[in-house]
């Protein structure tokens, strides 16, 4: 397990209150090793193709907020560069009442009790190996706390920037989100790679949505082409809470996302949406798991995948309805578009139901550009290349238009249009 040991070199034997849990997590990961193709969850994603660039020392690039997407659109932001808190790029000084945004490197020393539960879960034997590794090797990250009955006037940005400076090959950032009862949070989690970055990121996001709260979480993977990215999102929805967690994955050579949502109390609802584009040499794997633990809970899921050139995509969506979780509603759709003969997307919906009064539906498709639609657009005078671009754009649009944050919607559209392998229309700026 060369990769695991290469990662483990980043382990730091500090003596803070969480050190024993970090050691336990590392031991647990070592004992089990990294998953292989023989593990059902990892059937399509071969970690053997991963290697870790050797870390070297060097100056971090002189980044300014202007280099950061969305810095202007989010009044409050906390930024990490190569895994380390960057106060100069952050804006946490005078948060509005009810919001606390802190670096975990600080919280770890000031209030380790706030983190204990998470580290215990990650160090437990049944925890996913990358969760254990994240807890063992993490250096920094963000704790975002929203007090009860708070509505924030602007979205909060948590950005993890990989600078391309040869300082740190591996980072294990954490993002802890604690939303109080009846509060509302719009959160943008950005993983952004600067040109030339060759980082390996193993990120963990943990969202606790209090009763009656509403959380919109947008996670954007905009890593550099040579980066590798493993990420987990763990959501717990309290009574009558609503959490929307959207994964937008475009960057990196290998991306693997695990999204788990537990609907733990009556009335909780979750929407997991996603859009990924896998171009030449890219491999993007999403595994989602919606756990209906309580009755009267609702889930909706829409994932759209696009693969171009020899790009490879994977979607596996599991929905579990536990015994006694009656009157639940679950809807899942995975739609995928292949733009070339060499592209491949595997999709696998899984429903596991142990209650009898439920309403569940799922659908999965993998298709190509529709010839009939092409002819329709061409017959109207639209050139073949533009017609194809319009159809790809339309395909992605169904996920993009669900984003409530206008700056992100615009950015996604631009990003899609800027991909040479997914020829999107130059006419995009003319959207009426």
């Amino acid at each position: 397990m060369a990769l695991l040991e290469a990662l483990a070199r980043d382990f730091r034997a500090d003596t803070d209150a969480l050190a024993p849990l970090r050691e336990k997590a590392l031991a647990s990961a070592r004992r089990r090793g990294l998953p292989t193709l023989r593990d059902e969850d990892w059937k399509y994603t071969d970690l053997a193709r991963l290697s870790l660039a050797a870390p070297a020392s060097g100056p971090a690039a002189g980044l300014t907020p202007a280099d950061l997407p969305f810095a202007d659109d989010c009044a409050w932001r906390i930024v990490f560069v190569d895994g380390v808190y960057a106060p100069a790029l952050s804006s946490v000084g005078t948060p509005p009442p009810g919001l606390r945004l802190r670096a975990l490197s600080t919280v770890r020393h000031e209030e380790p009790a706030l983190l204990r539960d998470l580290f215990e879960r990650c160090a437990a034997d049944g925890a996913p190996v990358f969760d254990a590794l994240n807890a063992a090797l993490t250096r920094d990250g963000a704790l975002l706390e929203v007090a009860a009955d708070t509505s924030l006037p602007s979205a909060v940005l948590v950005a993890f920037v990989n600078s391309g400076a040869p300082v740190q090959a591996h980072s294990a950032p954490q993002l802890l989100v604690r939303v109080g009862e009846r509060s509302r949070l719009e959160l943008l989690e950005l993983h952004h790679g600067r040109d030339g970055a060759r980082n390996f990121t193993n990120a963990l996001t943990d969202i606790d949505a209090g009763a009656g709260s509403r959380v919109l979480h947008y996670r954007v993977n905009d890593e550099a082409p040579d980066a590798n990215h493993v990420g987990a999102v763990r959501v717990r929805g309290g009574r009558d809470s609503h959490v929307a967690s959207c994964s937008f994955a475009f960057g990196g050579r290998l991306t693997r996302m695990d999204v788990y949502a537990a609907l733990a109390a009556e009335g909780a609802s979750v929407a997991l949406n996603g859009l990924f584009v896998a171009g030449a040499g890219q491999h993007i794997d999403h595994q989602t798991f919606i756990d209906h633990q309580a009755p009267h809970t609702t889930s909706e899921e829409l994932y759209k995948g696009i693969a171009a050139e020899d790009g490879r995509g994977v979607f596996r969506g599991k929905v579990l309805v536990r015994e006694g979780a009656q009157k639940i509603a679950a809807q899942q759709a995975s739609h995928n578009l292949l733009l070339s003969q060499a592209a491949e997307i595997d999709t696998k919906p899984e429903l596991e139901i142990y209650a009898d009064d439920v309403s569940c539906a799922h659908g999965a498709t993998v298709g190509q550009i529709d010839d009939a639609a092409m002819f329709y657009l061409q017959s109207r005078g639209i050139a073949a290349a533009d017609a194809k671009a319009l159809l790809v754009f339309g395909f992605a649009q169904q996920v993009v238009e669900q984003v409530e944050f206008p700056a992100l919607r615009a950015w996604l559209t631009k990003l899609l249009a800027g991909r040479a392998d997914v020829p999107l229309p130059t006419l995009l700026d003319a959207t009426p």
Partner: protein, 250 residues
């Protein structure tokens, strides 16, 4: 304007059109009638350039230009428009947005500058009134969630914005109740002009009560077997197709 000579067309090796001749002068409205399977839709599709048809013989020229050598979008650039029997739904692509791409595609083909957003929107507003399309449908994805009548009206609306010189209407009456039929036909009639020709493909003569043709052609077994004034349509309504098709085979 449109001249079709000895046109033979196959689909997957099966002959559909077998020596079709047709001449449609500028400014005239010609109806193509015929029984099911006679090749009516094939004719409409071949004129517009739909893939999947093999022309084995003959020619289709438009103002002397070889239409068959052009891509569908180039034919649109030349002024050909096909109103689909089953208009496609295009999820995620806004109706107006698609139409703007279409109009500017055609303008580019003709060497004209692109139309800007302001000009375009005022044009669109004016045209919705001409065909009676609900403005709320403009910003919806193309044809998605539209009723049958709304889809057909949207076809006529697109036609009114793109202003073709040859409009081919493929079974525009299919699936419409009498009210919807009347509205769609009125939209088409508003677009009748001395410089514009129409080829109206239909199975039933009732559409021709509203869009009155100059000439009616009967298509059977892949050929035009009879042409005549609009009264021919009424005769077909009364007597059916058998008396003609049997005579043609014999």
């Amino acid at each position: 304007m449109l001249k079709i000579e000895n046109l033979h067309v196959e689909v997957e090796g099966k002959p559909i059109l077998r020596g079709l001749n047709l001449e449609l002068p500028q400014g005239e409205v010609h109806a193509i009638m015929g029984p099911n399977g006679s090749g009516k839709s094939t004719l409409a599709h071949v004129i517009a350039g739909k893939p999947g048809y093999t022309v084995t013989q003959g020619s289709v020229t438009f103002d002397g230009k070889d239409l068959l050598a052009l891509e569908p979008e180039q034919r649109a650039g030349e002024g050909v428009f096909l109103a689909f029997q089953y208009p496609l739904e295009i999820p995620g692509v806004n109706n107006v947005y698609m139409l703007k791409a279409a109009l500017n595609g055609i303008r580019k083909y003709r060497g004209l500058p692109e139309m800007d957003a302001v000009q375009f929107l005022s044009l669109v507003k004016a045209k919705t009134q001409v065909v009676g399309l609900k403005e709320s449908l403009l910003n919806r994805p193309v044809n998605q969630g539209f009723s049958g009548g709304e889809k057909k009206r949207n076809e006529v609306f697109q036609m009114s914005v793109l202003e073709p010189r040859l409009a081919v209407l493929d079974e525009t009456d299919s699936g419409l109740d009498i009210d919807a039929l009347r509205i769609v036909a009125e939209g088409v009639n508003q677009l009748r002009a001395p410089e514009r020709s129409f080829l109206v493909v239909t199975h039933y003569q009732r559409l021709l009560d509203y869009i009155v043709p100059d000439v009616v052609h009967v298509l059977a077994h892949g050929r035009i077997i009879k042409s005549g004034p609009r009264e021919l349509a009424l005769e077909l309504e009364e007597r059916g197709y058998d008396w003609l098709t049997k005579a043609a085979v014999a």
